[in-house]
């Protein structure tokens, strides 16, 4: 029983990481239909920001908290710059955007290698995140690492913040308007170009937050973005574009599925099985779990 619960919780914490990574994508890919392969490198930028801050601010506990807003701004600024330089010229050619941003991601990886060196670096987790919490006591205890709980909390907070921003703020209203009908939004006096850039800033900034979270569970390296980006895109594809709830549900379902399959088989077989499940799922719902219904044929 504890094994099942333990695997489920491992799955939930994998799901929380996936969710944090995919959340920014759900804004840039899901809402704006831009496939940004450099998203993984924005995550990397967030992680390296944490590393640099920890080097300059000695207290590990404070530096992690400082890193959250700083990484948001660093990655967000990178994203806004990328949007302004390249992506805005390519809104009509989504597949070309994919390859162009892949080129950007290659260059950013090499930049990280030149600045920080090819080997992975590590941050020290703050003291208040090193312990465990015992969820079920007794002879067969179920313990959960504090850092995992922190990531789960961070993911939930990010989802809530993004949802509230999209639902309640004037900016969110403009983003939704542009997503639903770009031309109508434009004739209503919304500067769609500015909305695009702001949405891209937000989505990329969320990648920075994800990068901060990833420093708690793994090493920081130039290729850390590439390792997670495909999984994150799959979350969006299966969850359906344009809706946050699909992303949230699918991130946790895939996390649990991965964890349970990994427990009963091996890591590599689990990856393949999850992919088979995704292809099978797309047979049933080719547009993903939730999708915005439109009258468009394509």
């Amino acid at each position: 029983m504890t094994v099942i619960l333990g695997q489920t919780f491992t799955g939930i914490s994998i799901g929380a990481v996936l969710l944090l990574i995919a959340l920014g994508l759900s804004l840039t890919f899901g809402q704006m239909n831009v496939i940004n392969m450099a998203h993984g490198e924005f995550i990397m930028a967030g992680a390296y920001t944490t590393y640099v801050l920890q080097k300059s601010i000695s207290g590990a506990g404070i530096s992690l908290l400082v890193a959250l807003p700083v990484a948001f701004i660093v990655s967000g600024a990178l994203g806004a710059l990328l949007e302004w330089l390249l992506i805005r010229r390519l809104y009509l050619r989504p597949l070309d955007t994919l390859l162009v941003t892949w080129g950007v991601s290659l260059m950013l990886q090499q930049l990280a290698r030149d600045i920080f060196g090819a080997p992975n670096v590590q941050t020290r987790a703050p003291d208040w995140l090193t312990g465990n919490v015992t969820l079920i006591g007794g002879a067969d205890p179920l313990t959960v690492a504090n850092s995992r709980l922190f990531i789960l909390g961070l993911a939930v907070a990010a989802v809530v913040a993004l949802t509230l921003t999209l639902r309640l703020t004037p900016l969110g209203r403009r983003i939704r308007a542009v997503v639903q009908n770009r031309d109508l939004a434009e004739v209503s006096g919304i500067s769609t170009a500015r909305v695009d850039r702001t949405a891209f800033f937000l989505g990329s900034g969320l990648a920075g937050i994800a990068g901060v979270a990833l420093t708690l569970v793994g090493p920081i390296g130039p290729t850390m973005g590439t390792n997670v980006i495909i999984d994150a895109f799959l979350v969006i594809v299966v969850g359906g574009i344009g809706q946050l709830k699909g992303t949230v549900i699918v991130a946790f379902v895939l996390g649990v599925l991965q964890s349970v399959l990994e427990y009963s088989t091996t890591l590599s077989v689990a990856k393949v099985l999850v992919l088979v499940a995704i292809v099978a799922f797309l047979q049933w719902r080719p547009q993903g779990l939730y999708t915005l219904r439109t009258r468009s044929l394509v």
Binding site: L95, L99, V104, L106, M107, Q110, V237, L267, K271, Q283
Partner: protein
């Protein structure tokens, strides 16, 4: 502007390419450089398929590494079994594994005819299965690209995980013989090069026939307006499936011939990064043009060797820049450069004429 037209030009192109590949290159290049050229030509074979599927059909296949790998591993498995000799296990299995006999799914590859057929038919069968699932449900565009990329990544991860039977991260290495011929002998290496060059020309001819057939027209129509094609009574899913399967077969053959040319196949050659590198060559040269895609693939592969030998870091920046410039600013690739420049010149000339007219 052009001296020859239509069919004559095509024949002249083929004859020129044949002279270049079969006469000039072996004479001019050292054995080492010829071996490298053989490797580049394999990349070009994959690019022919990508030109068909992506350039003509609009299917951005970011997972050609999957099919390249299937072909390569099918060939390498046979060659490993042949190297080991009857009754013996391939060397790496004795090293990592506890198995005393070949796994069941290795056994058919002991038969050379089966292995040769499998290098092409296995990728095609896998592509047909995946494609029929994916296209029938109208998964397309970016969704298809990401899914195909994930498939290549999953295949590489699976191979790494099964170290005892696939060689894991190392792959299948140190292949000595090729159907009884010793691959260390430069004469045999040269023969492998000729086989590869012939196969490339064959694939180009096949793709050219397809592109200029009724099917080729239909494929472009599906790329440009899938719904209209559907309303005209065709099934776009089938049209796309054919292009995907043919491209997979070409990638499989390329992988199979890559193995004797290089002597190794490993997961590092078929994962996400190499899969995208297959696409970049076609993109730089011109995705919709066969000549552009092939020359682009050879050129990019050559540039990679030349630059990464000297400055590995600079090569990565250059490669990234190549992606950005080629796709953002010259989507037709270098093959379209002539047309773009000509149009610009015509525009300028027209503007000049108008300016003169206004002045008068």
């Amino acid at each position: 502007m052009t001296l020859l037209h239509g069919r004559a030009r095509t024949w002249a192109g083929f004859a020129g390419a044949a002279v270049l590949l079969f006469a000039l290159a072996p004479l001019a290049l050292t054995d080492f450089r010829l071996g490298l050229l053989a490797k580049y030509l394999c990349t070009a074979m994959v690019a022919v398929g990508i030109c068909l599927a992506w350039g003509r059909g609009g299917l951005l296949t970011l997972g050609q590494g999957l099919f390249f790998g299937l072909g390569g591993y099918a060939m390498a498995m046979h060659l490993k079994i042949a190297d080991a000799g009857p009754g013996n296990l391939p060397d790496f299995m004795q090293l990592y594994g506890t198995a005393t006999e070949l796994p069941w799914w290795w056994r058919p590859f002991a038969n050379p005819a089966f292995a040769l057929a499998a290098t092409v038919l296995l990728p095609m069968a896998v592509a047909a299965l995946l494609g029929s699932f994916i296209f029938r449900r109208r998964v397309k565009g970016a969704y298809f690209a990401i899914l195909s990329q994930a498939l290549a990544a999953a295949f590489a991860i699976w191979l790494i995980g099964q170290q005892a039977t696939t060689g894991g991260t190392n792959g299948l290495t140190d292949i000595q013989g090729f159907f009884g011929y010793d691959l260390d002998d430069p004469v045999n290496q040269r023969t492998v090069y000729f086989v590869i060059a012939a196969a490339l020309l064959l694939l180009i001819a096949l793709a050219r026939q397809l592109i200029h057939s009724r099917y080729g027209e239909l494929l472009v129509a599906v790329r440009d307006s899938e719904e209209r094609v559907r309303f005209l009574g065709y099934d776009p899913a089938k049209v796309k499936l054919v292009a995907y399967v043919v491209a997979a077969g070409m990638a499989g053959l390329a992988g199979a011939l890559f193995v004797p040319a290089v002597g190794i196949i490993s997961p590092a050659m078929i994962g996400i990064v190499p899969s995208i590198e297959f696409v970049i060559g076609a993109a730089v040269g011109g995705r919709a043009s066969l000549v552009g895609a092939v020359l682009g693939a050879i050129g990019v592969a050559w540039a990679k060797t030349a630059l990464s030998e000297e400055f590995p870091a600079a090569w990565t920046y250059f490669q990234g820049l190549l992606f950005i410039v080629a796709l953002a600013f010259l989507p037709g690739g270098l093959a379209s450069l002539g047309g773009v420049l000509r149009r610009r010149r015509d525009r300028q000339r027209k503007a000049a004429v108008v300016a003169v007219g206004e002045a008068a």
